[in-house]
Point group: C2
Chain length 200, copies 2
C-alpha cells in the first residue's frame, strides 16, 4: 500500500483532509508529518495558494521519499481585494491564532455594509512525488462574511462565513455537510483521481 504524507501541521486541516481522502477508498495509507519529526517547516514565501502548496508538497516529498499532499487555502474577501487569502492563518501577525485572525477581519470590514461583504474560501491542493512530478487542483466555496461569529464546528473563519444558498455558517454545519460543499472538499475530491493515476 502506498504511503501518502499529509504535509500540514494544522490540526483542523489534518482532520478534514483525512476525512475527505479516506472516504475515497484509495489504496493508500495516510500518514501525518508527526511521523517525520526531522522535516523542518517550510516558510510560506509564495504569493499564491499554488506556490505555497507546491513549496510544502515538494519539500515533504523530497525529504520523506514518499508522495506528499499539501494544501494552501484561505478566505478571500472581495472588499479586501481577495485578502486575507494566502495570509489567512497569519492575518493577525501570529501564525495559527484563529480567534485573533477572525476578530481582526471583522474589525477591518466593520464599515463594509451588508450586501458588499461577499467572499469565497479557496483551496489549492498539490500532490508532489519524490521525482519532482507535481499536480495541482483547486476548489472554492462562495458566500459572505457576517458580523458576529456563530457556531462551534470547523476552524479558522468558519464561524463568520455563510455559503451562498445557506443561512448557517460553516461552523454551524456538520463535518459531512461542510465537506460536501467546501473549498477543501472540492479540491481534495478533485485530487483523488490524480492520486489514483499516480499510485495505480
Amino acid at each position: 500500500m502506498n504511503k501518502v504524507v499529509l504535509a500540514t501541521r494544522n490540526a483542523g486541516k489534518i482532520v478534514e483532509l483525512r476525512r475527505i481522502l479516506e472516504e475515497s477508498s484509495l489504496p493508500i495509507e495516510l500518514v501525518g508529518l508527526e511521523d517525520f519529526p526531522d522535516i523542518a517547516d517550510v516558510a510560506e514565501t509564495g504569493l499564491t495558494f499554488a506556490e505555497n502548496a507546491l513549496l510544502k508538497a515538494h519539500a515533504v516529498a523530497r525529504e520523506s521519499g514518499l508522495l506528499a499532499v499539501a494544501d494552501d487555502s484561505g478566505l478571500c474577501v472581495d472588499a479586501l481585494n481577495g485578502m486575507p487569502g494566502i495570509f489567512s492563518a497569519r492575518w493577525s501577525g501570529t501564525h495559527g491564532d484563529d480567534v485573533a485572525n477572525l476578530w481582526l477581519l471583522l474589525a477591518q470590514i466593520s464599515d463594509v455594509p451588508d450586501g458588499r461583504r461577499q467572499g469565497h474560501f479557496a483551496c489549492t491542493a498539490a500532490l508532489a512525488l519524490p521525482s519532482g512530478e507535481e499536480h495541482v487542483v483547486e476548489g472554492a466555496m462562495h458566500g459572505h462574511v457576517i458580523r458576529e461569529p456563530r457556531g462551534a464546528n470547523g476552524f479558522g473563519y468558519d464561524p463568520i462565513f455563510v455559503p451562498d444558498g445557506e443561512s448557517r455558517t460553516t461552523a454551524e454545519m456538520s463535518a459531512g455537510e461542510k465537506d460536501a460543499i467546501s473549498h477543501r472538499g472540492r479540491a481534495f475530491r478533485a485530487l483523488v483521481p490524480v492520486i489514483e493515476s499516480v499510485v495505480l
Copy 2:
C-alpha cells in the same frame, strides 16, 4: 476670499494638506473641521479611495455650505493585492492607531521575501461644492516596504516605506522632500487648478 473646508480630522493629514495647498497661493482661506463641531463624522463605507473621498467631501460641503476638500489615501502592498488600501488607517481594527497598523502589516508580510515587497501610496483628493458638483484627482508614489521602521517624520506607514530611487523612508525625509514626490503632494497639486477654476 473663498473658504474651503479640509474635511478630515486626521492631524497628520491636516498639516500636510495645509502645507501643500498654502504653497499654491490660491485666493482661498483654509478652514478645518474643528470650526464645524456639529458636522458628524462620515462612515467610510466606500470600497474605493474615490468613493470615500467623495462621501466625506459631499457631506461636509452640504452641511457647511462651503467648498469642501477631502482625501482618501493609503498604502497598497502588491503582495496583499493592494491592501491595506482604503483600510490603511483601520488595518489593526482600531481607527487611527498608526503604530498597531504598521506592526500588523510588517508581521503579515514577514515571510514575503525582499524583491517581492513592492507597493505604492495612493491618494484620491475630492473637491465638492454645496451644489453637488464634484471633482476627483489622484496621485501615487511607488516603492517598497522594508522590515523595520526607520525615521520619525510623517505619520502612518511612512517609517516602513522607501520610494523608488531613494534609500531613505518617507519618515526620514523633510516635509518638503516628501511633498515633492508623495501621493498626497501629487494629488493636491493636481487639485489646485481645479479649485482655481471653481473659485475664480
